[in-house]
Structure formats: structure tokens, C-alpha cells
């Protein structure tokens, strides 16, 4: 279980002006659920995600993982317990698909046959035939294929948690819809805690078991997609759900 306690994050702009990306966020993410962090750009959703794997540290407040303060954990070990998927995959262009996926296994000193087996399993899982894709380089893949490899890489060490930052944001609408649906099934397959950052209402409602709607660094409403739809907490939520807030 991931718990954010009164987490704030303030950036200082080059001009010296402070930016409050997050203003005292309290949020609990249950084991096994998919939590969609939704909101317009600048609402603090990505900041929230990056606090979880300590890519940034909170200005105040705490982030707890199974009751432990993550500030006390080794950030490298912490991140390896969480798969990380970013927009357009974030694949290393100089490594083959197989080595991109198996990189963390390599670093964790798995035996070569175990790595190969794991890579093939994961390629199958994301619907990329291993014999065809194993030895390709990211430059030889389509956007959708890259994103699949990115997901496979995030699952390499079989992490408890999957962090996804706008994973389908850079794809064309058709590929995006296809991948979103595939992922909604895939996720059931692997049953992990997933934190998904999205600015896309449909995506969040399709994939999220619960949705946290953020605005200007504050949590506006938290609930299942149905709860949000049936009982918007504020007029702003209503407008947002109607697609009238960008």
C-alpha cells in the first residue's frame, strides 16, 4: 500500500517565484488497485508519481510504502520494486529489445538462460513475437511497439508496483485505444498495484479502478469512475468531466 501524507512540493522558478506543484496531498493507493491520477496539465499528477519512486523528494510530508517512510529506503532498491513506464517508452536506443527488457535482470546478475526466458515471456505478454522482436533496436519499432516494450521492461523484475507516466500519450488515437484495451486486460493478468498518470478522461476511466482528480496541486475528488460520474463533488469537476477544462 502506498500512502502520501500531507505531501507538498514547491519548485522555485528561475525567476525566483515559487511554484506549488503539490499542496498537502493525502492519498492512499491500495494493493492491487489501479489508481489513475487525472487532471489538467500543471495539476501535480506527475509530481505525485515522481514522489512515489523518489525521482523528486517532498518539500514536506511523507510517502509511505507498506508503512515504511520511503525517505529511509535506498532509492535504487525502491525504484527496482516499482516498474516505471514513461511516454514513448524511454527505451535505450543502443540496446536491442531483449537487452532493454533484460537490463535490470542483467544488473541484478540473473543467469543468462533465466534472463532469456523472462524476456521471451514478457514479449509474449505484450503481444510481440519474441523471434521477431528480440534482436531489433528501438529505432526499428513503431510507436506502439516501443510502448509495449516499455511495459515489458517495467515488468522485468516482477515488481509489486507499476508507475506509468502518460504511457499512451504519444501514440496516434487508434494505436492508443488498442493499447489501452490490451492493457486493461493485461493488468488483470498480472494483478499489480498500478499508478497511472493521465490527462485523458477516457483513459483514466477505462483503466482506473479509482480515479484521483487533481487541480492546482490539490485533490479535488477521489472515487471510482462511476462515483465521479454520478456525483461530481464540485462544479469544476462537472465541467472537467464534460470535457470543458483543458
Amino acid at each position: 500500500m502506498i500512502r502520501l501524507e500531507r505531501a507538498t512540493r514547491t519548485f522555485i522558478r528561475a525567476s525566483g517565484a515559487p511554484v506549488h506543484a503539490l499542496r498537502g496531498l493525502d492519498l492512499q493507493i491500495r494493493k492491487g488497485e489501479t489508481m489513475a491520477l487525472l487532471g489538467p496539465s500543471g495539476c501535480g499528477k506527475t509530481t505525485t508519481l515522481r514522489l512515489i519512486n523518489r525521482l523528486i523528494e517532498p518539500s514536506s510530508g511523507r510517502v509511505l510504502l507498506d508503512g515504511e517512510d520511503t525517505a529511509e529506503l535506498d532509492p535504487i532498491r525502491l525504484r527496482r520494486r516499482m516498474g516505471y513506464v514513461v511516454q514513448s517508452g524511454g527505451l535505450f536506443p543502443h540496446l536491442t529489445v531483449a537487452r532493454n527488457i533484460g537490463l535490470l535482470c542483467e544488473i541484478e546478475r540473473w543467469r543468462r538462460p533465466d534472463i532469456d526466458q523472462r524476456v521471451d515471456e514478457l514479449l509474449d505478454l505484450v503481444h510481440l513475437p519474441p523471434s521477431e522482436f528480440r534482436d531489433r533496436h528501438p529505432g526499428e519499432l513503431s510507436g506502439g511497439e516501443r510502448q509495449r516494450v516499455g511495459v515489458a521492461r517495467a515488468l522485468a523484475l516482477d515488481p509489486e508496483i507499476l508507475l506509468m507516466d502518460e504511457p499512451f500519450g504519444a501514440l496516434d488515437p487508434i494505436t492508443r485505444t488498442e493499447l489501452q484495451h490490451e492493457f486493461s486486460e493485461l493488468e488483470r493478468l498480472v494483478a499489480k498495484t498500478v499508478v497511472l498518470v493521465s490527462h485523458d478522461l477516457d483513459e483514466a476511466f477505462l483503466l482506473g479502478d479509482r480515479v484521483a482528480l487533481l487541480c492546482e496541486g490539490e485533490l479535488v475528488q477521489l472515487g471510482t469512475p462511476d462515483e465521479l460520474r454520478s456525483a461530481p463533488a464540485t462544479p469544476w469537476v462537472e465541467r472537467f468531466l464534460a470535457g470543458r477544462v483543458q
Binding site: 516505471y84 524511454g90 535505450f92 536506443p93 533496436h137 528501438p138 529505432g139 521492461r153
Partner: protein, 530 residues
């Protein structure tokens, strides 16, 4: 390409480097011996060769002659620092260039005694008795024209000045002891005075285009052209008497050297020196052969066995000439490769880590790139000359390597920096986010992605090094610059080409080879241009 293979490449490079370093260390543990230096022009070389032959013939001291050193300051600095024990110097040069005396001196004896006592006091260097020749400036005129006008001395020119055209070397036009001083001193106003390259001036006067040129009083070309050297009757030109300059320490350890070297004193008047210079420059005879011929004729050494060196060598075609020098070219080429390779490897070892260290620090980055850029603007010869003044470097292969190294740093540093900076922040963010340590990010992501750019920098650095290494000959560090430097002062095009062509081939070869290496080391996905 697999990592073991890359490791092998690095290992081979490292072994080459270490073996080369070993050679340097060995070179330092030399037995007691005498190092003779000479400057990069014919006369200095012949005088150095004479002293070497004399010492070899009459003592058990091992002699090394380092010829072709790039000018007075290189020779003098090296001697003052003990890299060289003995070299021929000129009183006028010592007066104006080394001691920087401001006043004029016209009395040869006064000049000699002055530089002798100053050198003794300031540098513990001893001037031995002079050779006899005075290699000063003079004015020369076509023999027939001089005879027709009745000109023997410079003063005789005064009534004819308005009808005469002069062609003076650029140096002569600009030196206080050249035309600017001579003109008011004698009150000469020629019809026309133009600056021209010295070699061309000889052709021009022989062809009747001009009537007067400046000449060196011991120039071998004076025999080739029918010229009359005019006497400096009012004593304007300062004396440039040549004499052996030896380190006091060496002279105290081997006092017999004074008597031995002074056997040459006043044995070589101007007209003899002209002939010796002529024998080398115009007839293509070897320095050593000419020097030995003179010493034997003077009864200073025994005739000994016949010398290597073909007097007809001057007539070979360029191709035959280069084939004949094959072994020598290979030896020099190998030294050239060693110099460049050592410098580039050192530069890689320094510039790549430095580039990594400063890549994300804005101030450090500017300082490092700025400093490397400034070094790049220093003329190569100046940098080499500067190196020999640094303790521990001196007139050695080390100086050359350090200078080459300094030139090689910038391209590698800049490319390392560019290579690392051009990796997208999103990719680095992903690398951190999936749980790689900074070290893993550097070695598994940043360096592989920057390899291509870094290698391009190494390639540039190598080609620059191979080019600049030709100048290493000026400080006696060898390499393919040796025949180039010698060829330049002998005005021997074949000799110049016998160094320049292999150097160019070497540069092209190295560039091609490193191009292959670049492709081979670059991870495949990088070529796809993602």
C-alpha cells in the same frame, strides 16, 4: 560488437602506450656522454658534426648529435638546462637575442669577450675560442656589374645608388641591423628596394632583375652565382662570429675538451665555410661527409674508412630517392606513430573523464572548454618551444608528447561533452526511474550513446596530432618531421616530400582506420539515429 572484443582493443592500445612509456624511462638512464646540439640550418649542422667527429676520434666519450633544433632559443634553452652540453653559437645572436643587449656592437673582440663573460656568470656556459668565420649580413652584387662600376665596398655604392634596385629578404628589411639601420648609416638611397624571399632574390639578381641583395657572408650560394660580396668598410654589420658554447659543468668534468675543441679555432674562415655550405646545399653531399673531409684535410682526424653516402644521390628521381630511404622512413614513421598515439591516448585518458565530470556543471564546463580552446590557439611551434622550458620535459620526446597531448585534448573534450549533452533528458529520466545507479547510467547508457561523437573527436585529435608531430623534429623528438626540417633548410624538395608524403599517408590511414573503429565501437541502434 561484444564487450570482450572492445576490451582487447583497449588492452592493445594500453600495452602500446606502456611499452612506449618504458622506452622513455630507459632513454633517461644514459651513461656519461656528450650531447651536441645544432640549429636547423646547414652551417650549424656542419659545425656540430665537426665537433662530434673530433670528440669521437680523440676521446672515449660517447657523442650524440641532435641536429635541426628549431632555432636559437630552443638550442640555448636546452643547453642552459643541461639537455645539451655543447652547440655552436654566434656572438651577434647571443648579444641581441639571448642577452638582449640594446646597444650596437661593431668590434668582434669586444662582442666576444662580453658574451663570454655574461654567459659564464649568468648561465655557467663557456665560450671557447671561435671557429674563425663571421656569418654576418653583407650586400652582394653581380661580379661583372661590380667590376664595371668599380664597386668593392659599400661606400662605393653611394654615387650609383640612384640607379640601382635592391631586393632584400623580409628579415633584413625589418631588422635594426639590416636595411633600416644600414640606410642612414651609409646614406644609401636606392632607386627601388623591395622585399623578397631570400632564395628568389638570388635568382633575381642572377637574372639581372635586381642589382643588389643582402647575403650571409658564409652563404654557400655565393659560389653558385657570380657575385661580389661588398666590404662593410665603415663597420655597420655587427659581428656574428661562431664559436663552441659548452656547459661549465661538462668542461670541469672533461677539461681536455677545451684543448680538443680549440683545435678548430680560427681554422674555418668565411671562404672555407662558404665551400663547406656549398658542398652540402648545392652538391648534395652529406653533412658528416663534408665535416669529415674538412677535418681530415686539416689533419685533425685520421682518414679512416670510406663513408657511406653517394655523391650522386642528388640525381635520383623522387621515387628512387624515397625507396632508398625506406628503412629510414619506416623508423621515423614508427616514431611518428608513437608520438601521436601516446599523445592521443593520454588525451583520451584525461579528456573523456574530464568531459564526463563537467558535462552537467555549467561553470566547470565553460572553464574546461575555454582553457582547452585557448591552448588550441597557441601556434604549435610556440607551444613546443614553451614545453622545453618546463622542468622534467626539456628537449625530449616527452615535450613533444605533452604539446601534442594539449592539442588533442580539446577535440576529445568537446566531443565527449557534446555527446553526453545530446542525450535526451527524458531518456536519462527513464534510466534513473527504472532504478539504475549513476555509475550504471554512465557506463550502460551515456557512454555507449556518446561513443560515436567521442570517437569522432578522437579521430580529429589523431589527425591533428599526426600533423603537428612533424614539428617535433624542431625540438629533436624525431618523427617524419626530421626530413621535412632538414629538407627545408637544405632547400631539398625531395627530402621534404620524403617526410611530408608519409606523414600525409599516415594521417589519411589513421583517419580511415579510426573511422572503421568508430563504426565498430558504436552500438548498432545509435546508427538508426534515435
Amino acid at each position: 560488437m561484444t564487450r570482450p572484443l572492445r576490451a582487447i582493443v583497449l588492452f592493445v592500445a594500453f600495452v602500446t602506450f606502456v611499452s612506449f612509456a618504458g622506452e622513455l624511462v630507459r632513454a633517461q638512464e644514459s651513461p656519461a656522454r656528450l650531447v651536441i646540439g645544432s640549429k636547423n640550418f646547414t652551417e650549424s649542422h656542419i659545425l656540430g658534426e665537426m665537433m662530434a667527429l673530433l670528440v669521437e676520434a680523440h676521446t672515449g666519450i660517447e657523442v650524440e648529435h641532435r641536429s635541426g633544433l628549431g632555432g636559437t632559443l630552443v638550442c640555448f634553452t636546452a643547453t642552459a638546462r643541461g639537455e645539451i652540453d655543447l652547440y655552436p653559437e654566434y656572438t651577434g645572436t647571443a648579444w641581441s637575442i639571448i642577452l638582449k643587449e640594446s646597444g650596437r656592437v661593431d668590434d668582434p673582440l669586444r662582442a666576444f669577450l662580453h658574451v663570454q663573460s655574461r654567459f659564464r656568470d649568468r648561465y655557467d656556459l663557456e665560450w671557447l675560442a671561435p671557429f674563425g668565420l663571421n656569418n654576418s649580413y653583407a650586400l652582394a652584387m653581380r661580379e661583372e656589374q661590380a667590376a664595371a662600376l668599380g664597386v668593392r665596398e659599400i661606400s662605393d655604392l653611394i654615387p650609383h645608388a640612384g640607379t640601382l634596385d635592391a631586393g632584400f629578404s623580409i628579415e633584413f628589411m625589418n631588422r635594426e641591423d639590416g636595411w633600416p639601420g644600414l640606410r642612414p648609416f651609409y646614406g644609401l638611397d636606392f632607386r627601388q628596394v623591395r622585399a623578397m624571399e631570400h632564395g628568389l632574390a638570388y635568382e633575381a639578381i642572377a637574372g639581372g632583375v635586381i642589382d643588389l641583395i643582402d647575403a650571409y657572408t658564409t652563404d654557400g650560394k655565393l659560389l653558385r652565382y657570380p657575385l661580389r660580396v661588398l666590404e662593410d668598410d665603415r663597420g655597420f654589420f655587427p659581428p656574428y662570429n661562431a664559436a663552441p658554447v659548452i656547459r661549465g659543468e661538462v668542461l670541469r668534468a672533461h677539461p681536455e675538451l677545451r684543448e680538443l675543441l680549440e683545435r678548430l679555432s680560427f681554422r674555418i674562415p668565411d671562404r672555407v665555410m662558404i665551400e663547406l655550405n656549398h658542398a652540402v646545399e648545392e652538391r648534395g653531399r652529406a653533412f658528416r661527409e663534408v665535416a669529415r673531409g674538412f677535418l681530415v684535410a686539416e689533419g685533425l682526424i685520421d682518414a679512416g674508412e670510406a663513408l657511406e653516402g653517394d655523391p650522386d644521390a642528388g640525381r635520383d628521381s623522387l621515387l628512387a630517392f624515397m625507396v632508398g630511404r625506406w628503412d629510414e622512413t619506416l623508423r621515423l614513421g614508427w616514431r611518428h606513430v608513437q608520438l601521436s598515439l601516446a599523445a592521443v591516448l593520454l588525451a583520451v585518458l584525461v579528456a573523456v573523464p574530464l568531459g564526463i565530470a563537467v558535462a552537467r556543471r555549467r561553470v566547470a564546463e565553460r572553464v574546461a572548454l575555454g582553457a582547452a580552446g585557448v591552448v588550441q590557439t597557441i601556434p604549435s611551434l610556440a607551444l613546443l618551444a614553451f614545453m622545453i622550458a618546463i622542468p622534467g620535459l626539456g628537449l625530449s620526446v616527452r615535450s613533444a608528447i605533452v604539446a601534442l597531448f594539449l592539442y588533442a585534448v580539446l577535440p576529445i573534450l568537446r566531443n565527449t561533452h557534446t555527446g553526453l549533452r545530446s542525450i535526451s533528458p527524458e531518456l536519462l529520466d527513464a534510466a534513473v526511474g527504472i532504478g539504475l545507479t549513476p555509475r550504471q547510467i554512465l557506463f550502460r547508457v551515456q557512454l555507449p550513446l556518446a561513443t560515436r561523437t567521442i570517437m569522432a573527436g578522437v579521430r580529429t585529435a589523431t589527425v591533428i596530432s599526426i600533423g603537428v608531430a612533424t614539428l617535433a623534429a624542431f625540438i629533436g623528438a624525431g618523427g617524419l618531421g626530421e626530413p621535412i626540417v632538414t629538407g627545408l633548410y637544405l632547400n631539398d624538395t625531395r627530402l621534404i616530400l620524403s617526410g611530408a608524403i608519409p606523414a600525409a599517408v599516415l594521417a589519411i590511414l589513421a583517419d580511415a582506420l579510426l573511422g572503421r573503429l568508430e563504426v565498430w565501437l558504436t552500438p548498432r541502434g545509435v546508427h538508426a539515429g534515435v
